[in-house]
Symmetry: C2
Subunit: 156 residues, 2 copies
């Protein structure tokens, strides 16, 4: 009998599945649209992806080191290949850092990026939910560009 | 010291917070656009909301009763008020049903809607993630309609 609804490793696997799907969404974009197409009042999908890159590994590093830093969501990537490479390089870092957070710390408060004070589990959910949110927006961009998005349930 | 990363009640609270935000998104839509506006190849936001309504309570009922049924995501709501009422009526049902799932069942396999066989925790995450995904799409619809969406972090 299991007394927890989800283990730490299962939550990581869930996140990594989402990251696979987001990677597929990046791949579907023509390079020009990835960096230039946007809906009025919104950002390009490349900018959203850079926000995600600026949050995941740096956020986990702060948590692991128990030391708040500053949020940086601007990078100088200009090609799809660079963006995908950064995405892929983040994956093993996310796994390694996530592994280092002791289970009992997930309920501890931490001041993420020096401005979001909440239990660590809330920050982790924010990382995942924010990715799902922006990827959903990327799916609409793809439709607006006449491109079929990947399937939501394909996470491998 | 806590040995689980998130409790059952915390996960429910997290979902209910997302449901509050989705409710705000529904409210932002002009009624006509809610039921008629869509991007080529996609559904209206009202249709997406009806999918969410067709999944949450019925899915939890199946899990609680340990009996698969059929997915129905079509309803006959034609006004924003009806949609919001259905949304609000689902909330206490979600809470009550969720409460009835014993912690140890979350890792059990269940064949949701007779077609998605997976651990119950995966189905619950699907309910939440799918809502975040479609709400993100609804945010783009709002932007395309020239309307500012609610803030992603406002869940109360």
């Amino acid at each position: 009998m299991k007394t927890e609804i989800i283990s730490k490793n299962e939550l990581l696997a869930h996140w990594l599945g989402h990251r696979n799907l987001t990677r597929q969404a990046i791949e579907k974009f023509p390079e020009e649209a990835l960096f230039n197409y946007k809906v009025e009042g919104m950002r390009t999908f490349a900018e959203m992806i850079q926000e995600l890159l600026g949050i995941a590994v740096p956020g986990l590093q702060e948590i692991v080191n128990n030391k708040s830093g500053e949020l940086n969501e601007k990078f100088s990537y200009t090609t799809k290949a660079q963006l995908l490479q950064a995405w892929d390089e983040a994956t093993p870092q996310i796994s390694a850092l996530f592994d280092k957070i002791p289970t009992e710390r997930f309920s501890e408060e931490f001041n993420l990026f020096g401005q979001y004070n909440s239990p660590i589990i809330h920050s982790i959910f924010y990382f995942i939910d924010n990715e799902i949110h922006h990827r959903g927006q990327g799916f609409v961009y793809l439709r607006l560009l006449g491109i079929q998005p990947p399937f939501f349930w394909e996470r491998d």
